[in-house]
C-alpha cells in the first residue's frame, strides 16, 4: 500500500534520510524503530510532505505522492498522529475530533464515526466539552488518535504514541491499535518501545543515522541481539 524507494531527506544542510526504502502492505502493522535522532520522525514527515523534495519516490496505493501539498494528504486516505500529540489546545474535545473530519462531505458518516471514537475512548466521551489543553497526556494521545481516525484513513501513521505515558496507558494504546488493525486499518508505527511494537506488528525496520540497517519479520527481530545493539551499543 505504501512504498518508499531510496528516499532522501534533508534538514537544511543535514542529510537526515539516506536512501531509505520500506514497504507497508495493505492490512499490515509495520513498525519503524531506532534510537533517537535516527530519522524515524523525518521518515513520517517526508511521507506527508512536511519535509520533502519532489524528487522522492513515494507511492501510496500505486499513485506517487511526490508533488502533493501536505494539506491534501489526508484526502488521499493517510492520517498522521504526530509526536507529542499536537492537538488544538483551545478547542474542545468535540471540536478537535470534528476537525479530523475537516475534509469530509458526509455528515452522516462523520456522526457515525464520532460515535465509534467515543465508544473506543470513553474518557473522551466524558470530556467532550472540555478544552483539549486541559486533558492529561494520555487523554490527549487518545484525542490525537481519535482525531486521526475521524478522517476514515486507510493508512495511519503514528509517531511514538506512548511517549511519556505511564505503563498502564501504554498497554491500552497498544490494545487499541491491535483492535483497529483487526478492523482492517493499515498502520505504520514509530516507537522507541521496541518490544511492544514488535509484539503487535508483522514487519519491522531499524533505522540508524538515517539509513535502514536492519529489517525483517517482527517475530525474528524480537530475538535479534542487533536490535538491542542499535539502541545500547554492541556488547
Amino acid at each position: 500500500m505504501l512504498e518508499l524507494n531510496r528516499v532522501n531527506s534533508y534538514y537544511g544542510r543535514i542529510h537526515v534520510l539516506r536512501d531509505v526504502s520500506l514497504r507497508v502492505g495493505a492490512g499490515q502493522i509495520v513498525t519503524l524503530l531506532g534510537a533517537n535522532g535516527a530519522g524515524k520522525t523525518t521518515t513520517l514527515r517526508t511521507i506527508v510532505g512536511l519535509n520533502r523534495s519532489a524528487a522522492n519516490d513515494i507511492r501510496f496505493e500505486g499513485e506517487p505522492l511526490g508533488a502533493i501539498a501536505p494539506y491534501r494528504i489526508v484526502e488521499r486516505g493517510i492520517a498522521m498522529v504526530p509526536e507529542r500529540r499536537e492537538i488544538f489546545p483551545e478547542m474542545t474535545v468535540l471540536e478537535n475530533l470534528e476537525l479530523g473530519a475537516y475534509r469530509r462531505r458526509d455528515p452522516v458518516g462523520v456522526a457515525a464515526d464520532l460515535e465509534r471514537v467515543y465508544t473506543m475512548f470513553p474518557a473522551l466521551a466524558e470530556r467532550r466539552g472540555q478544552a483539549g489543553g486541559t486533558l492529561s497526556g494520555g487523554q490527549q494521545q487518545m484525542l490525537a488518535l481519535g482525531r486521526a481516525l475521524m478522517s476514515r484513513p486507510r493508512l495511519l501513521l503514528l509517531d511514538e504514541p506512548t511517549l511519556g505515558l505511564a505503563p498502564l496507558l501504554v498497554g491500552e494504546i497498544f490494545a487499541t491499535l491491535t483492535r483497529l488493525h483487526g478492523e482492517g486499518l493499515t498502520i505504520l508505527l514509530i516507537e522507541q518501545n521496541a518490544n511492544q511494537a514488535l509484539g503487535i506488528s508483522s514487519y519491522g525496520y531499524i533505522l540508524e543515522n538515517g539509513a535502514v540497517v536492519l529489517e525483517g519479520e517482527s517475530a525474528r527481530l524480537r530475538d535479534n541481539p542487533s536490535v538491542r545493539a542499535s539502541y545500547l551499543g554492541a556488547a
Binding site: 535522532g37 511514538e160 518501545n193
Partner: protein, 592 residues
C-alpha cells in the same frame, strides 16, 4: 596589510578630505544638504546599533532625535548654554530615554518592544506639539547658531564641525562594534540563547544598545537643531522613524558604511525627487517593501557577500598546539574528594508536569560522564537546570562545593560551566573566529570606555584573544575555516565550532548535548579523539548526553541513566548495557 585594505583606507581618507573641504567647492544649498546628510547618518547609525548590531527593534527612533534636538534647543535658548555643552546634554537626555525604553526588551519579545518604541515615538511628538510653554508647540523654537572662536557659525562654517563630529562618532562606534562589546551585541542578535550560555549579560547589553542608539540619535537631533536653526515637531514624526529604518536597511544593517550611505541618501534623494510631489512617499514605501523581500541585507550586505568589502587579513594557519590554550591548571580550593559538579536531588517542574524528580549525579575533575535515557527522559532538562536556563523546584546544583542557587546562566558560565546544544546554536552570520571569540566573553577584556576609545591596550587584548581563538579553532579541526561564516560550515564542522566556542570560556566542566548526533562515522571518530584530548590536555571534565552509543559508551568512564525524569541506573558502560532496568526503559517490557 593587504592591498584591498590599503586601497580602502586611502579611499576613506580621500572621502573625508573631500567632505571637509566641501565649502570650498559646493554652493550654499547643496552644502547644506550634505551637512544634513551627515547629521542624518549619525541618527541612522543609532538605528543601526540597536537594530542592525543588537538585533532589537526601534520604530520610534525619531523620538530620540527629537529629545536631543529639543533639549539642546532649550539649553541654548532658555538656559543660554553654549552649543558645545548643549550637544552632549541632548545626547545624554536621549540616552536616558533609551535606557528606559530598553527595559521592556529585557522581558518581552520583539513584537512588544516594537510597540513600545512605536508608542514612544508618537508620545514625544505629541508632547512637542502640545507642551506649549516649553516647546512652543507646532510653531517650534528658533535656535541660535553655535559660537566658536568668537563668531557665529552658520551652515558653511558649521559644516566642518559637522564633519568632524560625525567622523568622531563613527570612529568611536567603529571601535565599539569591533570590540568584545560589539561582538556581544551581534551574539545577542544571532542567538540570545547561545549568547547567554557564553556568559553575555543580556540585560546589560540590551540596555546598552538602546542607550547608545538613543545617544547617537540625540546627538543627531542636537546637530540638526544647530544646523537648521529651527526645531519643530514636524521633523520627528513616525514617517521619519520609518525613513531612518528604511535607509538603514538600504545602506546595510550591521555595517557602519551602510549607515553613512543611508544618511546621505536620506538627505540627498528627496532633493533629487523634489519635483515629483506625491510620488516620493510612494517610492519610499515601495522601496522599503522591495528591500525587505529582495535585499534585506542592504547594499553593504550585498557587497559583503560578494566579497567586495575589504576584510581583515588572515594570518597563516597555525598548528593545533595544545599548550597555547592555557590548560586548566587552576585547581579549585577544597579537597580532591569534592566533586566538580554535584547535582543533589534536583527537581524541575513545568506547570503540572514533573520533568526531573530527585535526580542526583556527580562529575569529578578528571571524568567523562555519560548521560543517557530514552526520548523525553529529561536529559536536556537536566542540562538546562544545571546551566541556569531553567529554575529548579527542588534540590541543588553545586560547582566545586558552592551552591549555584539562582545564579543566571551567564554568571554560571563565568564560574566554569560551558555547554553545547542539541542542535547547534551558532552565531550564524559571524565567522568561526568571531564565534569562538564570543565564547571568550567571560575572559579578561577592556571595559566599555577603553574599547570605545580604541586604546593600545584594547588592541593588544584583542590580538591576544584572537590568537587564542585561532588556536582553539585549530584544536577542533577548523584551522582553515576561521574566516568562514558559521552558517556556511558543514554540519560536522558546526558541531566542532560549538565545542571550540565553549572551550573559549575556559570551563572547568563542559556539558555536551548530543555532540555526535548527525555526524558521519569519520566525524564521530574525530569527536571522540577530541573529547579525550579535552580531558587529558586541557584538564576539562565532560558531561555528555548521547544517543550514539558507540560514542557515549566508548568515551564515558561512568554512565548515568535517566527515564521519565528519574535516575534508574548508574555504572560503567558494561554494567549499564546489561542492566535490566535500562534495557526495559529503552526497549520496553517483553510480553510474557
Amino acid at each position: 596589510m593587504n592591498r584591498t585594505a590599503a586601497l580602502a583606507g586611502l579611499g576613506v581618507a580621500a572621502l573625508v578630505v573631500a567632505l571637509a573641504a566641501a565649502p570650498l567647492y559646493l554652493p550654499a544649498y547643496p552644502l547644506f544638504v550634505l551637512s544634513l546628510g551627515l547629521v542624518y547618518a549619525v541618527a541612522v547609525l543609532g538605528v543601526n546599533l540597536v537594530m542592525g548590531y543588537a538585533g532589537l527593534v526601534s520604530l520610534g527612533h525619531a523620538g530620540f532625535a527629537a529629545v536631543g534636538a529639543y533639549v539642546a534647543a532649550i539649553a541654548m535658548t532658555k538656559l543660554g548654554l553654549s552649543f558645545w555643552i548643549a550637544l552632549p546634554l541632548g545626547g545624554l537626555a536621549a540616552a536616558g530615554c533609551g535606557v528606559v525604553l530598553g527595559l521592556p526588551s529585557l522581558r518581552l519579545g520583539p513584537l512588544h518592544v516594537a510597540m513600545v518604541t512605536f508608542g514612544f515615538g508618537w508620545v514625544i511628538v505629541l508632547i512637542a506639539q502640545n507642551w506649549l510653554d516649553v516647546t512652543n508647540g507646532p510653531n517650534g523654537l528658533a535656535v541660535p547658531p553655535p559660537r566658536a572662536f568668537g563668531r557665529d557659525l552658520y551652515a558653511p562654517d558649521f559644516h566642518v564641525a559637522v564633519v568632524a563630529i560625525t567622523i568622531v562618532l563613527f570612529v568611536l562606534a567603529g571601535n565599539l562594534v569591533a570590540s568584545v562589546h560589539g561582538r556581544a551585541f551581534k551574539a545577542i542578535r544571532e542567538s540570545e540563547l547561545a549568547a547567554q550560555a557564553m556568559g553575555v549579560d543580556l540585560a546589560f547589553y540590551k540596555t546598552l544598545a538602546f542607550a547608545l542608539g538613543a545617544l547617537f540619535a540625540g546627538c543627531s537631533g542636537a546637530l540638526f537643531a544647530a544646523l537648521s536653526h529651527f526645531v519643530n515637531p514636524d521633523a520627528f514624526h513616525f514617517g521619519v522613524s520609518i525613513l531612518y529604518v528604511t535607509v538603514a536597511i538600504l545602506g546595510g544593517m550591521g555595517y557602519l558604511a551602510g549607515s553613512a550611505l543611508g544618511g546621505v541618501l536620506m538627505a540627498v534623494v528627496p532633493e533629487v525627487l523634489r519635483g515629483t510631489g506625491e510620488f516620493k512617499d510612494l517610492l519610499t514605501g515601495s522601496l522599503l517593501l522591495a528591500l525587505l523581500v529582495f535585499l534585506p541585507h542592504g547594499l553593504a550586505g550585498f557587497a559583503d557577500r560578494r566579497g567586495w568589502l575589504p576584510r581583515r587579513p588572515t594570518p597563516p594557519a597555525i598548528e593545533a598546539v595544545a599548550p597555547r590554550i592555557a590548560p586548566n591548571a587552576v585547581r579549585a580550593a577544597g579537597s580532591d574528594d569534592t566533586p566538580l559538579l554535584a547535582v543533589e536531588r534536583l527537581t524541575v517542574r513545568f506547570g503540572g508536569l514533573t520533568a526531573l524528580k530527585d535526580v542526583s549525579l556527580a562529575v569529578r575533575r578528571d571524568e567523562i560522564v555519560g548521560l543517557i535515557g530514552p526520548n523525553g527522559a529529561g536529559k536536556t532538562t537536566l542540562f538546562n537546570a544545571v546551566t541556569g536556563l531553567y529554575r529548579a523546584a527542588g534540590g541543588a546544583v553545586r560547582l566545586e562545593g558552592h551552591d549555584l542557587g539562582r545564579l543566571a546562566a551567564h554568571e554560571r558560565t563565568r564560574l566554569g560551566l560551558a555547554r553545547t546544544f542539541q542542535s547547534p546554536e551558532l552565531f550564524r552570520e559571524l565567522t568561526v573566529l568571531e564565534n569562538v571569540l564570543v565564547g571568550a566573553h567571560t575572559g579578561q577584556w577592556p571595559g566599555l570606555l577603553a574599547s570605545t576609545l580604541g586604546t593600545p591596550r584594547t588592541r593588544r587584548a584583542e590580538a591576544a584573544q584572537r590568537e587564542r581563538a585561532r588556536a582553539l579553532a585549530a584544536f577542533t579541526g577548523l584551522a582553515q575555516w576561521v574566516d568562514r561564516r558559521a552558517e556556511g560550515l558543514s554540519f560536522g564542522h558546526q558541531r566542532m565550532l560549538e565545542i571550540a566556542r565553549a572551550l573559549a570560556a575556559q570551563p572547568k566542566l563542559l556539558l555536551l548535548d548530543e555532540p555526535a548526533a548527525g555526524l558521519t562515522s569519520a566525524e564521530a571518530e574525530f569527536l571522540m579523539a577530541l573529547i579525550r584530548r579535552i580531558r587529558s590536555e586541557l584538564g576539562v571534565a565532560v558531561l555528555l548526553i548521547g544517543h550514539t552509543m558507540r560514542v557515549v559508551m566508548g568515551l564515558s568512564d561512568r554512565i548515568v541513566v535517566l527515564d521519565h525524569g528519574e535516575r534508574i541506573a548508574e555504572g560503567s558502560p558494561a554494567d549499564v548495557r546489561t542492566n535490566a532496568d535500562v534495557i526495559r526503559a529503552y526497549l520496553g517490557a517483553r510480553h510474557a
